[in-house]
């Protein structure tokens, strides 16, 4: 190899190494600015505007890590558990409550009593102040209005066993993952293990479509591939907003029925967080009634936790009969319920 070629070669290698180093430096977190690291399972389209508002108001930069439904809700929570000895996150903002209870149980969270939570009902707050809940979503039926007439709309979870509806025309997400798992655990808590197991086993025997997530249920009902399905109210509202021919039915609302599960968002400070003050400031901001108002308007929250001036454009101010369940009672049986449902549904 002649001298010119060798020089070119060495220059090329130096350039490559330089690019790598610069990339590493470029992506290194900027510590000069005040930052807060937020792990969130709230949809990015809803959480991102809240982050921007917080940044504008406080000057603290939010460094988010988002979860996705596709990884079966195993992503962020397991990351937090694995990082327990050297936490990277300051705040965990969850789209539901069970994962937060798990993190509290595993000593991942630190107590913090936010002044913004003063008017949030006690049932949405941890007695030891490890987490606070606000603005809820409900488990609802999304019904395709082209395929079912109003007199044939389902009104109870038990209608999924009704022979009027072919099994393959009904959809649920796998009861082992996400909010469907939470609802199943709630059913185990309210109905008792035997009755709940029988209900879910019968559903499986009927051959109802068990799909990858709540958004898939929404998509299949919206496109007319299913008559109806069980999903989260934000997913169903989103379909209505997109102009799909669907409607929302709140299940089990009649006198004497069990009601539907209401799932609050929860927020918590991480034990050993590097930016404690910034984390607390962020929690205060999210729990502020103004943020809850923004999230109702944006469509993430359908059931505000307190009296605020706006109502969900999709559900309105309908009085909802919630399932009589204590959130902290659901968690202890969750793992057993999931194992049980894996045996029933994954075969």
């Amino acid at each position: 190899m002649n001298h010119k070629k060798r020089t070119l070669l060495i220059s090329g290698i130096i350039l490559l190494v330089g690019i790598l180093l610069l990339s590493a430096l470029f992506f290194y977190p900027h510590e000069q600015q005040r930052t807060v690291v937020v792990y969130t399972s709230v949809d990015q389209v809803f959480s991102e505007p809240i982050f921007r508002s917080f940044e504008n108001q406080t000057g603290i930069k939010v460094l988010p890590v988002y979860d996705v439904e596709a990884d079966k809700t195993t992503g962020l929570v397991n990351r937090l558990l694995a990082e327990k000895t050297n936490p990277q996150a300051d705040v965990f903002w969850s789209a539901e409550f069970v994962q937060t209870l798990l993190l509290k149980n595993e000593s991942v969270l630190a107590p913090y009593s936010s002044p913004s939570a003063y008017d949030i009902p006690a049932k949405y707050r941890d007695p030891d102040n490890y987490w606070a809940g606000f603005g809820g979503r409900a488990r609802v039926f999304i019904v395709n209005t082209d395929r079912l007439s109003p007199d044939n709309y389902p009104h109870s979870i038990y209608d999924m066993l009704d022979s009027r509806y072919p099994g393959k025309s009904i959809g649920i997400a796998y009861p082992i993952f996400g909010t469907m798992a939470t609802q199943s655990a709630a059913l185990y808590s309210v109905l008792g293990q035997d009755k709940a197991r029988l209900l879910l086993t019968d559903l499986n025997k009927r051959g109802i479509r068990t799909v990858d997530g709540n958004s898939v249920v929404r998509d299949l009902v919206s496109s007319g591939q299913l008559d109806f399905g069980l999903t989260d109210s934000d997913d169903a509202c989103n379909a209505i907003q997109m102009g799909s021919h669907v409607t929302i039915i709140l299940p089990d609302q009649k006198e004497g029925e069990m009601g539907t599960l209401i799932i609050p968002s929860t927020i918590a400070l991480i034990a050993g967080a590097h930016h404690i003050e910034e984390g607390k400031a962020f929690i205060d901001f999210v729990l502020d009634p103004n943020t809850e108002t923004s999230l109702v308007t944006a469509g993430w929250i359908q059931l505000p936790s307190r009296n605020i001036s706006v109502h969900s454009p999709c559900i309105g101010n309908t009085e909802i009969h919630g399932m009589a369940v204590n959130y902290t009672d659901i968690y202890p049986g969750l793992e057993r319920t999931k194992q049980d449902l894996t045996e029933i549904f994954v075969r």
Partner: protein, 551 residues
């Protein structure tokens, strides 16, 4: 003290500087690729020592699990064999077209590889629904919308682009001179049946193995069509227990199956003895096959056409207007930039290390068997577990300065996809006459001459194909990346899945199109590089240059 000094001096005289660099590089590769597994293993030991009830024998064996594994293996086998069958039919059809058309089609197929399987599944689900509505309107029998048959079909369609790409590479591994010699005495049909397919069988077996691995570790397509797989059960275990150790244990049966498949592929690779000409078809004049085979080719092409139409119309109709597409691109510039930089870094780290390991695999000794094990195991581990393993391994006080940086998603992809690069480069090594390497060792003046004048030109096709495959896989990586991505950063794939959940179909399809375009550009760069080298005669002159080195 003096004794120790003399010991080190003795060691230094025994070990050359080149050996030290070689060993350090192999060690670095081992740490990056096998680190997550070590992390998981340490976690498992800790869990076992703590006497946690989460580790039970039922995680490994139960009737339900055995049935599930059997069904998953059956589906993966059916998909991979059918994929290679269709792939062979279409690859042989490509021989009958011009080079430009062939390259364009291959690039297009590569570009479709990183689109998430879920997009294929959803598009097919909508198409089937429309088809059933039409069939119902004419009173015909409906196509089943759930079950193993439809899961097989959609997974086959989702993997078809990759299957054709791999089949083409497999068939192109056959020495052109053997084909042309056979054509003088046998019909083209018999040449294909008696010469090309037997000679390409090891490469096609490897391609089949790749497809099998992708199929058996995917749960998204089967689960949309009501078929449960073992991969889903692993996620169910993870979700229920939140225990990486328990999940690792429950993944062992799948691990055994995938390692068995890879060992089978390894024996196939070892039988390779031809000289590849991956960028040239195996025919000087287009072949003429018997009518029966032509019908199979037409059928296979019809399948590809249907698949292309379904995905093309599914994507293009959903993307909405041009303005919407542009706004999606502008809104995702940061994610695009970040994804591209991660891809570049992964390729830059993966390829040199993979070359060294591929070289190690060439030896027929215990060390090479150990390296096979090291590169095979990560392929079979579910992606979130790789992410958790990375946290367990790197998020410790002594290494925590690296944790939380972008090196983690880079290492995650290197750990997951370097084994593929190693296998591709090992195949390329097998294609090259080892006498050439021995000769260059004797005649070269230094290591730079050895590599840049001879070895890299000889290995170039394999290097570029490995880079393209690693880049495409990295671009679509989700499970491990989401567990280790540094706060404040996001890849294009994470954004796609975020929008997918929200139901923003226009944005999702816009982002998928961007992914396809980026992969297409990567593939185009790889092919252009080979063509440029070929035009300059660098590839063909590598062998004569060994003689030049001696002058």
């Amino acid at each position: 003290m003096a004794g120790m000094l003399s010991f080190f001096q003795k060691c230094r005289s025994c070990i050359s500087q080149r050996t030290i660099v070689y060993v350090v590089c192999l060690l670095a590769f081992f740490i990056i690729v096998f680190g997550p597994l070590l992390g998981l293993f340490l976690d498992l030991i800790k869990t076992l020592l703590s006497g946690s009830g989460k580790i039970t024998l039922s995680l490994l064996f139960s009737e339900r699990k055995i049935v599930l594994l059997g069904e998953s293996v059956g589906l993966a086998l059916a998909v991979s064999i059918a994929g290679i069958g269709v792939g062979i039919a279409i690859a042989t059809l490509l021989w009958q077209t011009g080079k430009k058309i062939t390259y364009s089609i291959l690039l297009l197929l590569l570009a479709l590889a990183p689109i998430p399987p879920y997009i294929y599944a959803l598009t097919w689900s909508t198409t089937l629904y429309a088809l059933n509505q039409f069939l119902a309107s004419i009173g015909a029998a409906l196509v089943p919308s759930t079950g193993w048959v439809i899961s097989f079909w959609v997974q086959l369609m989702a993997l078809l682009p990759l299957a054709i790409f791999l089949s083409y590479i497999g068939l192109a591994s056959v020495d052109k001179t053997l084909v042309e010699a056979a054509r003088t005495i046998r019909s083209d049909g018999r040449v294909l049946r008696e010469i090309i397919l037997p000679l390409a069988a090891p490469s096609l077996l490897v391609a089949c193995g790749f497809l099998f691995l992708i199929s058996i570790t995917d749960y998204s397509v089967p689960s949309l069509f009501g078929s449960d797989t073992y991969a889903l059960d692993i996620f169910a275990q993870f979700s229920a227990s939140n225990s990486p150790s328990a999940t690792f244990i429950s993944a062992i049966p799948l691990l055994i199956v995938t390692i068995a498949v890879l060992i089978l592929c390894r024996s196939g690779i070892r039988k390779l003895a031809q000289t590849p000409n991956w960028m040239v078809g195996s025919w000087d004049t287009p072949p003429e096959f018997p009518t029966s085979f032509q019908s199979i080719q037409k059928g296979a092409f019809a399948l590809l056409a249907v698949q292309m139409m379904v995905i093309f119309f599914g994507l293009v109709f959903s993307v909405g207007s041009w303005n919407k597409f542009v706004s999606t691109v502008l809104f995702s510039v940061n994610q695009l930039q970040y994804s591209c930089l991660v891809v570049i870094a992964v390729v830059l780290i993966t390829i040199p290390f993979s070359l060294l390991v591929a070289h190690e695999l060439m030896n027929q000794n215990a060390r090479s068997s150990l390296w096979w094990l090291i590169i095979l195991i990560p392929i079979a581990i579910p992606s979130p577990l790789i992410g958790i393993g990375i946290i367990s391994f790197w998020n410790i006080p002594t290494l925590s300065f690296l944790y939380g940086t972008s090196l983690m998603p880079i290492f995650a992809s290197v750990s997951r996809f370097a084994p593929y690069a190693v296998i591709i480069l090992f195949v390329q090594y097998r294609f090259i006459d080892p006498v050439l390497f021995d000769a260059v060792k004797v005649f070269s003046r230094d290591i730079i001459d050895e590599w840049f004048e001879v070895k890299i030109p000889l290995l170039a096709p394999g290097l570029l194909i490995a880079s393209g495959v690693v880049a495409a896989l990295t671009l679509g990586e989700l499970g491990a990346t989401i567990v280790v991505v540094p706060p404040g950063h996001e890849t294009l794939t994470i954004k796609i899945y975020n929008y997918l959940h929200y139901g923003a179909s226009a944005e999702v399809t816009g982002l998928c199109l961007i992914m396809a375009i980026v992969t297409f550009i990567i593939g185009l760069c790889a092919v252009s590089s080979i063509l440029w080298w070929r035009r300059r005669g660098i590839l063909n002159q590598a062998v004569p240059r060994i003689g030049d080195l001696n002058e």
